[in-house]
């Protein structure tokens, strides 16, 4: 079933679009679920609620805003009826590859609309958001988000995949709680299969 809510990356934030044809209860449930599972989704950015082509009662809008307040550290909640295209970063641009030749340390963040290739590590506390793929010739220990514009074809590849959190498109995965004791490098690839993030050994 198609989700009654969708997300798109815009220049100043993320646009939440509500499906005009869906039942209001379904929209509410889907949004509640998302708030619960992805509390930090909007941390540090603006949340645009796209109400174009739909008609909601003022009470319903209130309810939606109240649910959306559950996201942590949102800058602003803004209603928009703009057709989103204008705001959206071209999310997959095959030609755009961003090469970064250094280790990203805690507190450093890279946000690119294309693919991101890093020669170095992503340390805990660092964050990489890419519209396309993320490829790391090093260890991933921070937060990575590939296919941030909604592309579920995107993948994450690293010589060692130990992220704090891994997101592809709208899916979020956490690594298992127990410590991995494997010290050696072990190239892995994460991608979406049957609606779930899966990780498998990356064979060249």
């Amino acid at each position: 079933m198609k989700s009654p809510i969708t997300f798109q990356v815009a220049k100043n934030g993320i646009v939440l679009s509500l499906d005009a044809d869906a039942k209001f209860n379904n929209i509410k449930e889907a949004l509640k679920d998302h708030v619960d599972t992805a509390t930090n989704f909007y941390a540090g950015s603006d949340l645009y609620i796209n109400i174009a082509n739909s008609s909601f009662k003022i009470d319903q809008l209130n309810e939606i805003v109240n649910i959306a307040r559950g996201y942590k550290d949102v800058n602003n909640i803004i209603f928009t009826s703009d057709v989103v295209e204008e705001n959206i970063i071209e999310v997959i641009d095959e030609g755009e590859n961003n090469l970064i030749k250094r280790t990203l340390r805690s507190g450093q963040k890279i946000k690119k609309s294309g693919n991101v290739i890093i020669i170095g590590d992503i340390n805990p506390g660092a964050e990489v958001v890419a519209g396309g793929d993320i490829i790391v010739f090093g260890k991933i220990r921070g937060v990575v988000h590939a296919g941030a514009g909604g592309s579920s074809e995107a993948s994450v590849i690293a010589l060692k995949l130990e992220p704090t959190q891994l997101r592809i498109s709208k899916k979020i995965a956490r690594p298992p709680e127990e410590d991995s004791n494997i010290k050696r490098l072990n190239p892995e690839r994460a991608f979406i299969q049957d609606g779930k993030i899966v990780v498998e050994d990356f064979e060249i």
Binding site: T103, L104, R105, S106, G107, N123, P124, G125, R141
Partner: protein, 264 residues
């Protein structure tokens, strides 16, 4: 010859920055270098207490930058070493009382007078930190074998690099060899692997530090075999000497460190 300036910083509080400054400074003075310690933790000054010089403060760093006194008037001579000085922080003001540019000029002036200037940075990454690093040529980062401290150290290294202070080095404080041996504590190897910077020293956990801090007598003054010796070694390394890392009782642990860092 112009002196060298060195900032001791950490991001996280309570990892032992001030203790490190007091001990390294005292150790350098014991090696006959002329040293000045600057307490950049305005509003929460501690270095004077740990040095046992609290009751000698008349002027402080804010008086100097506001030109209420001359620099020489604010410098407090250590009671044990005549070649060791302290420029205390103000206790009744806050971090905004000094600007990075003023700090830079202050350190520049001091460099003409002393061999080493050691700046004690406050915790955090805000203005106090920016002031503390403004005049520094080099940085030493103090961390403890805890995930949170290492995380903050990593953040600080990134910020230092952005400010143009290249190749900071790390001091791992309060390591407990027994806990490392049992696998209950982050190892030096784990920490260096994440931070990817050069190791400047390892200081074992030592109860004597608390006693010496309370008495205002840096531990290097006594012939202390654990923390005291570790701080003396760090001071020797700062002067360019090659000093092996001390054994933390367990010989296999020591050989492991030697293996990682290729010390013979």
């Amino acid at each position: 010859m112009a002196g060298k300036s060195l900032v001791i910083t950490s991001g996280k509080g309570g990892v032992g920055k001030t203790t490190t400054v007091a001990n390294i400074g005292t150790a350098l003075a014991m090696m006959q270098h002329k040293v000045c310690l600057i307490d950049a933790d305005i509003g929460l000054r501690n270095l004077d207490v740990i040095m046992g010089l609290e009751n000698r403060i008349v002027y402080d760093i804010v008086d100097v930058v506001e030109e209420n006194c001359r620099l020489e008037q604010a410098l407090i001579r250590d009671k044990r070493h005549k070649n060791l000085f302290l420029l205390p922080a103000a206790q009744t003001r806050d971090k905004t009382a000094v600007q990075p540019k003023q700090m830079e000029n202050l350190v520049k002036d001091l460099k003409k007078e002393v061999d080493y200037i050691i700046i004690d940075s406050p915790a955090g990454i805000e203005q106090g930190f920016k002031n503390a690093i403004a005049g520094a040529d080099f940085a030493l980062i103090v961390t403890t074998p805890e995930v949170s401290a290492v995380r903050d150290a990593d953040r600080i290294i990134g910020l230092l690099e952005a400010e143009g202070i290249k190749d900071p080095e790390v001091i791992i404080n309060r390591i407990n060899p027994d806990m490392v041996k049992r696998g209950d504590m982050m190892t030096i190897e784990d920490i260096i692997e994440i931070l990817a910077v050069k190791l400047k020293g390892i200081v074992p956990e030592d109860d004597i530090i608390i006693v010496s801090s309370n008495r205002g007598e840096p531990v290097v003054l006594k012939d202390n075999p654990k923390a005291g010796r570790a701080f003396k070694n760090i001071a020797r390394r700062i002067t360019g000497e090659e000093v092996n890392f001390i054994s933390l009782e367990d010989s296999s642990f020591f050989s492991k460190i030697k293996k990682i860092f290729n010390f013979s």
